[in-house]
Symmetry: C2
């Protein structure tokens, strides 16, 4: 299992930003084999995690035309800077209280 | 390079929570070889990323007495649920605008 870590410093989050982000999330989950997607934003800091079965799925997702356009808009308008890290998950622990 | 992904659903973040979180961050960075630490919280969702040179450092950090106590407090008081994922980073891309 692979994870793509997206760490960004937001410059301007206009109305199109949320719309494109939601569409990209749906595309990844619906058509590229992504099976979990979690994004958290605090002030100008964003971390988004997406989970994938293999690196081929990530490459296909990265080069899809709509996603390439979204990446370009991201650099031109929405992000001051970002880091993308691809990583292979080697182990995992989970905890859930009785309340969860 | 390894990353530890901590994804949590917060139950209650009392005053001790921020204090212990800051102490754990300092301990990881100062004594266990962690070289980057980034945490983002939105509502009850928290993602914390920490970066390590190898799995031995992560294991030593995981079993340090102060950290074990913090983990216990986390389960008893602060977190409704969490997932910890250890992953090896295979590639990385960076972007920074002229403004960054």
């Amino acid at each position: 299992m692979f994870v793509v870590i997206f760490r960004a410093k937001i410059r301007t989050a206009d109305s199109e930003y949320a719309e494109v982000a939601a569409r990209m999330r749906e595309l990844a989950l619906g058509q590229f084999g992504c099976f979990d997607f979690k994004s958290v934003t605090e002030g100008r800091d964003e971390i988004a995690l997406s989970y994938w079965p293999d690196e081929e799925s990530i490459r296909a997702w990265k080069s899809h035309a709509d996603h390439v356009l979204a990446q370009q808009l991201g650099r031109e308008r929405w992000y001051e800077s970002y880091i993308v890290q691809v990583a292979r998950i080697t182990r995992e622990y989970r905890y859930a209280s009785d309340l969860a």
